[in-house]
Symmetry: C2
Subunit: 355 residues, 2 copies
């Protein structure tokens, strides 16, 4: 384990463990990204995956939001689709439309095209280097979050070949090729387990698993094709690196909150369509919660943003809460309004808690 600078702000680590904190820590999904002019300037010169694969650039982008906004965590600039790439699939980022796989998986026979989990985890060295570089440059200001896509979400992209309104091709696999679906999901899980452990060793102090397309599944399909792999992943990472808090964010799978609370994660992320008080009841104190302001609230005036933050904090109640949006920032968000959100969380959550 390298010798990293001493951590000065451990709020998010304490909140993730369910310990009381003097105020709610806050970070934001996509806090490094297109809403920042300095990010757009850097991207004018380099392609998306060039930034991701160049540790110095990834570190620079990761730190950009912290230079202007008092966030309580950094999250490494990367993409969940580096794992399909490491498995041997080509992925391009197409301007304006998002990721595109020129050759998505067409049927179960295509599983033979994929590289072994060992080869895949080894191919991701550039992520580990980016984490170490960033952790050093952070100088202990705040903790550094590593992440990956969940098995089902990565499977969905690998079959669909990009974003989709319905993900009909990948969902059709679950019905038509259940056995091959399980094989693929296990293969992805095997890669992810090693990937997260190595992220922790490289400097990640929390790890978040994004199940972005969980909400497209029926509850039965979630229990059969998503949950077991989320659980397996958490169990394996926990066994190897017990000190690193784990966060799961299964967007849209609000019906699954009680299951997610028992899946081996420390924190469950909420999207903005859940009432935080109902979520607290559903998870029954077993995990900390993260979220969940509607990203669109940041289009309102600073006064309205503060009101919405207050309403959110009241609904979560004090303690075991990591403030965040219920989804990532949009490219059209105003960085000044993002700052208003973060400062409102700091100020109002401190006022809410006993001295």
């Amino acid at each position: 384990m390298p010798d990293f600078p001493l951590l000065k702000n451990d709020l998010i680590l304490r909140a993730a463990r369910g310990e009381p904190t003097e105020r709610a820590p806050v970070w934001i999904m996509r806090q490094a990204g297109r809403y920042l002019p300095e990010y757009r300037a850097l991207r004018a010169e380099d392609e998306f995956f060039t930034v991701v694969r160049t540790p110095e650039l990834a570190a620079e982008v990761t730190l950009q939001p912290l230079e202007r906004i008092p966030l309580d965590a950094a999250i490494i600039f990367s993409d969940i689709l580096v794992v399909p790439q490491a498995l041997g699939m080509e992925v391009e980022m197409v301007k304006g439309t998002g990721p595109h796989f020129p050759r998505p998986l067409d049927g179960p026979a295509d599983l033979d095209r994929l590289r072994s989990p060992e080869d895949a985890a080894g191919d991701l060295e550039y992520v580990y280097t980016a984490l170490s570089v960033t952790r050093r440059q952070l100088g202990g200001r705040v903790p550094l979050i590593g992440f990956c896509g969940a098995p089902w979400t990565l499977m969905a992209y690998m079959i669909e070949g990009g974003g989709s309104k319905t993900f009909a091709r990948s969902k059709a696999w679950l019905y038509a090729h259940p056995e091959a679906s399980h094989r693929l999901l296990q293969r992805i899980t095997d890669v992810l387990a090693g990937y997260l452990v190595r992220q922790a060793d490289a400097g990640a102090q929390l790890l978040q698993v994004f199940d972005s397309w969980a909400g497209l599944l029926t509850p039965a399909a979630f229990r059969s094709f998503a949950l077991p792999y989320l659980r397996d992943l958490a169990g394996r990472v926990r066994a190897e690196r017990p000190g690193v808090p784990l966060i799961v964010f299964a967007r849209g799978a609000n019906y699954a909150l009680p299951d997610l609370a028992e899946a081996g994660y420390d924190v469950v992320g909420l999207d903005w369509t859940v009432d935080p008080a109902e979520a607290r009841a559903a998870v029954a104190g077993r995990v900390a919660l993260q979220g969940n302001l509607d990203p669109c609230a940041l289009y309102a005036s600073p006064a309205v943003i503060r009101e919405e933050v207050e309403r959110m904090l009241d609904a979560f109640g004090p303690g075991a809460h990591i403030a965040n949006l219920g989804h990532g920032l949009h490219p059209t968000h105003d960085p000044a309004h993002v700052g208003v959100f973060v400062e409102a969380v700091h100020e109002l959550s401190a006022a809410q808690r006993p001295g």
Copy 2:
């Protein structure tokens, strides 16, 4: 009231009223549409809104699926966006991308551009004619469903100007212009109330309200900007035409099921992400339920489709159930598999029910 042919199959009307039926009635959202080669052939000659605005063509398309599939209801071929058109907004259907408003509402001042509710409901004469023509051509085989978009969903399109992943512009209105949002929602509701009453008078035997974008709202925003208008709409139609069952389908707003069960509708539609048994508990017998097979299940083999139908019917239990998918058919669905779904509902639900 015109003298229409006697109804031979009233299963869906009885199920909507919560009466026991010997088997579950079934219809499918988008049952008239692009998955049918005969629809694509007709559309090769006429633009989408030409078909909608030409009663003979709308009737022909409405009846197409019934010629090959033993559905228990017809739904008039139309579009929820005819109401924004009637309010004076231009809407084009762009091939491959969907609806497009060249001049969406830009701010509260644009509300002055909209026509009055009376003028708008009068402009929709072609829908009423299409319903009467279709009802006559149906010859009493099955009931005819009329529909409209819900106030929030229509507002979302009118501001956004088309489909969107986040509907950020329209959601930003809710936070930035709450008063103007309420004025717009009330204006739309006023049009819809007259529109639904006149659909019933023209021959519609059930009426469905589609709140397609309800799932983008926070629970608080749903209670403030969607639910009151859904309730107002149902109350006004019910007061004027008490005999016509009302269905509400608020996609993605599963947190709102208990509220929807008290909003004045006879039937609440479910998307595929809700467990029907949990939905039964949430609505506590106050309404019939409609839905909710995952549309992607129809990509599987006939044997798997039958298994999934059986699982769905078991979860709903006998009675007060109108079978449907949890969302509309996709253009890539195979009409033969759609037939397997409908026949499986007929056969398996009959077997499930006493004598």
